[in-house]
């Protein structure tokens, strides 16, 4: 696998003792979506700003497509696109004007720019709103335009800093779709997020970061299996005396089952079972069969797979869960998607 981003021992210190990024190293493969997952203040934005040449690093090394971010700064800028958290678009201009302006920043000739802009507007479904000023745009529309504006130069690597923070669920889905599409066409994408669901859905590989350090790195599924097994919960009918014991006996020797334990189910005081297994979905059929053989009928069966949040919890002792804001970033009107 070719590495397109190589980061070695990167650090950023503000003032004397505020360490935002603390000696991180990682590689991003060409053509993948690489996620940087962590809570606010973990150093995600600082890292992305250093890689996009916006911020001076304190120490370490980083290169993009073999170009050093300091020595070859000008060349780096020609091959990257960047969407900041703040949504860098000009509200006084129309969508089309914003994109044409970006084209001129990249020295794209007028004629070519015109067709490029039309193509991008279509891609992000803003063709109808193209000649309206952004003041009337919803948060989702502004974000889509922002995304389009960082694509005018067909960058090799696209940097997205918390691309869906503050967006409503539908706009979030839209952004995910675009990101996947772009990636399918071969674009490498580096994204930061505080949403584990986003990292899980989009990233081929990801780093979990906390307090300026990388605490884990790998594919989402690999990371999830490090926290342990899938959990299968069984409950039995009220008054079905002895069912629980019978079931426990029948299941404890099943292949793939690691642990069977009793638990108290929800609101009732009825007993249930929790079964830990490495490959939950495969084990479920065997469980059902074994229960059948033992003559026990479960009332409910639930399979839970570990989430990245649990990975984060295990590694840092904190939870990632963020309270999501419902409204769009700038209070844009909802339901105005074209």
């Amino acid at each position: 696998m070719d590495n397109i981003i190589v980061v070695e021992n990167l650090s950023k210190t503000y003032g004397k003792d505020i360490v935002a990024v603390d000696g991180i190293s990682f590689q991003v493969h060409k053509g993948e979506i690489f996620g940087f997952l962590g809570p606010n203040g973990a150093g995600k934005s600082t890292t992305i700003k250093i890689l996009t040449t916006l911020l001076e690093k304190t120490s370490g090394k980083a290169s993009i497509d073999g170009l050093d971010i300091d020595a070859d700064q000008a060349k780096v800028r020609r091959i990257i696109g960047y969407c900041s958290q703040e949504v860098g678009v000009d509200d006084d201009l129309t969508a089309r004007e914003n994109l044409m302006l970006q084209c001129s920043f990249h020295h794209i000739p007028k004629e070519k720019a015109r067709s490029k802009v039309n193509e991008l507007l279509q891609k992000v479904r803003l063709t109808e709103a193209a000649d309206r000023r952004l003041k009337t745009f919803s948060g989702g529309m502004r974000k889509r335009l922002d995304l389009a504006s960082s694509l005018v130069s067909d960058p090799e690597v696209l940097f997205l800093d918390e691309p869906t923070t503050g967006l409503d669920p539908q706009s979030r889905q839209d952004v995910w779709e675009y990101v996947k599409q772009l990636n399918k066409q071969g674009m490498t994408i580096f994204l930061t997020t505080q949403y584990m669901e986003e990292a899980d859905r989009l990233a081929d590989r990801l780093c979990i970061v906390d307090q300026g350090k990388i605490v884990a790195e790998g594919k989402p599924n690999e990371l999830k299996t490090t926290v342990g097994a899938d959990k299968i919960t069984l409950s039995f009918k009220v008054g079905d005396v002895g069912a629980c014991e019978k079931a426990a006996k029948a299941l404890s020797n099943l292949q793939g089952v690691e642990e069977v334990g009793k638990c108290v189910m929800g609101l009732t005081t009825e007993e249930g079972l929790t079964i830990m297994a490495k490959n939950g979905s495969a084990v479920v059929t065997q469980i059902v069969r074994a229960l059948d053989g033992a003559g026990v009928e479960p009332e409910q069966l639930k399979l839970t797979v570990p989430t990245l949040d649990e990975v984060f919890l295990k590694l840092t002792g904190k939870t990632l869960n963020v309270i999501e804001r419902k409204e769009a970033v700038r209070g844009g009107r909802r339901g105005m998607r074209s």
């Binding site: 001076e56 860098g88 678009v89 000009d90 006084d92 201009l93 004007e97 920043f105 990249h106 020295h107």
Partner: protein, 265 residues
């Protein structure tokens, strides 16, 4: 390379012009403010025109006994100074909105970002000064140097505007706060205006004020304007004005570009 730099400046310049034209409120205020200045000050201080001291008279020092004619220069300078504030404010807005990061990630020169903005501000300064001159003419001001003199006034105003904007750019880029940029601009404009030869001829100022006024760039700009309005082309005073513009411009714009080139977060 030169061509690229040029097209970058043009792109930024056009962006700001579009933004400017979409703010009708701007044109309204650029009409109202000089009117207020003209009417308030020249009405309240009209007696200045007939000042007579044992050594001097206002008329013999300035060449006119009409205070409003003399005061035209002060209105222009005040307008340039408050319009120069806009450069810094615009840059801070771009820093806040994330648009600046977008420009800084693009392969364009830092100086193009600043000069595109400065040239656009020069256009708005020219529009405002034209409005002032028209109001002045309506109020009976006669421009002795004629149409060419008026063009010279516009040229000095635009170049001085660019140089003076450099100060607000520098403050904006170092503080990244529109509050601070605005306060510093407003707090310096009035003292500088009244401690110069803009509102009163140099010889009629108290001696300590005269000392300050002699090193105050507003004095040289004001005298160039006053001469063009009252007397005609006096090349000495025009020369001094351009020297002042050059010194301020080199320092303020040089410092701004240096600060801007450093990576800021």
């Amino acid at each position: 390379m030169r061509m690229e730099m040029f097209s970058e400046v043009v792109a930024i310049f056009r962006r700001w012009n579009t933004k400017l034209l979409r703010q009708p409120i701007f044109l309204f205020f650029s009409l109202i403010q000089p009117l207020v200045w003209f009417l308030l000050f020249t009405q309240a201080f009209s007696a200045i025109g007939s000042i007579q001291t044992p050594q001097f008279s206002f008329a013999s020092l300035t060449g006119t006994s009409s205070y409003i004619t003399f005061f035209t220069a002060a209105v222009i300078i005040q307008t340039i100074a408050s319009s120069a504030l806009q450069a810094g404010i615009g840059i801070v807005n771009d820093l806040d909105s994330g648009f600046m990061d977008k420009m800084r990630v693009a392969p364009i020169r830092k100086s193009a970002i600043l000069f595109g903005k400065l040239f656009s501000d020069a256009i708005s300064t020219i529009i405002q000064v034209v409005i002032i001159l028209v109001i002045g003419l309506a109020l009976g001001v006669h421009i002795a140097s004629g149409i060419l003199g008026a063009l010279m006034i516009l040229f000095i105003a635009a170049t001085f505007g660019i140089a003076w904007s450099g100060i607000s750019l520098f403050v904006a880029l170092t503080t990244k706060s529109s509050q601070t940029t605005l306060s510093i601009g407003l707090l310096t404009t009035f003292p500088l205006l009244f401690l110069s030869a803009s509102v009163m001829p140099l010889q009629l100022l108290p001696s300590w004020v005269q000392q300050v006024a002699k090193v105050n760039p507003f004095t040289y700009i004001a005298q160039a304007f006053q001469n063009l309005v009252i007397k005609g082309f006096i090349w000495d005073s025009i020369g001094y004005a351009f020297i002042a513009i050059l010194i301020i411009g080199v320092i303020s714009l040089g410092a701004s570009i240096l600060v801007f080139r450093k990576k800021i977060s």
